[in-house]
């Protein structure tokens, strides 16, 4: 069964460093998403991406964040200068279409720890 994959599973970084989290969405999906989950809190939407551009983003997704689809398979989230409060689980998701009712499939997540 096709699945969303994410690497690395765990990333430890120093405050102020740049990190890139990687995702491989399901191959025939066209819409891609990043969510995050701070320990003990809800899963929060960060950004959605379609046709090589951001279609929607949350207030969390400020100038420190960027997304990219560098090739035909990968979808990345970059945090330019990490802060302690960026420590969280980051989930990538993908869906065939962006319409309501179209299931978003989630990856296993990357645990980001900022020291």
């Amino acid at each position: 069964e096709p699945e969303v994959t994410q690497t690395p599973s765990h990333q430890v970084t120093q405050m102020g460093q740049e990190v890139i989290l990687r995702c491989v969405p399901i191959s025939n999906h066209l819409y891609f998403y990043w969510y995050r989950q701070i320990l003990g809190q809800k899963v929060e939407f960060l950004v959605s991406f379609y046709n090589n551009e951001i279609s929607e983003k949350s207030e969390i997704f400020d100038d420190q964040f960027s997304v990219e689809r560098p090739d035909g398979s990968n979808f990345t989230l970059k945090i330019r200068s990490t802060k302690l409060e960026d420590s969280a689980m980051y989930f990538c998701a993908s869906s065939e279409t962006g319409t309501t009712g179209n299931e978003q499939f989630f990856g296993p997540g990357t645990r980001l720890t900022v020291l």
Partner: protein
């Protein structure tokens, strides 16, 4: 990938019993609702969904009920099994948006 939360409400049920997990949603404009299951080390996994023009939908061993009047969603799991132990999240979305808005989650523990 586990939503480890010191403050997660927990539902403990005996194996074989039915489970009911509740969720209150916030946006009266939301028109699509989903239940996700999150097991330890994994991302959220789709269980069942329902549109706002319905009040009940059944799947295999699971039923979702929607009460739009009080903005309440519930997930019923029949004959709960040890493999059902996980954290369950409701999520909502509106037609004008791509994003899922997640609830805070409920931990389900199944006693053998």
């Amino acid at each position: 990938g586990e939503s480890v939360g010191l403050h997660l409400p927990t539902l403990s049920v005996q194996e074989g019993d039915n489970s009911i997990i509740n969720c209150a949603y916030s946006n009266s404009a939301s028109d699509y609702f989903i239940w996700y299951k999150q097991e330890s080390g994994k991302g959220p996994q789709f269980i069942i969904d329902i549109r706002s023009n319905m009040d009940k939908r059944q799947g295999q061993r699971v039923t979702v009920l929607l009460n739009k009047t009080v903005k309440h969603l519930s997930l019923q799991i029949a004959a709960t099994q040890p493999g059902d132990s996980a954290v369950y999240f409701c999520a909502e979305t509106a037609d004008s948006s791509y994003k899922l808005i997640f609830g805070s989650g409920t931990r389900l523990l199944v006693r053998p």
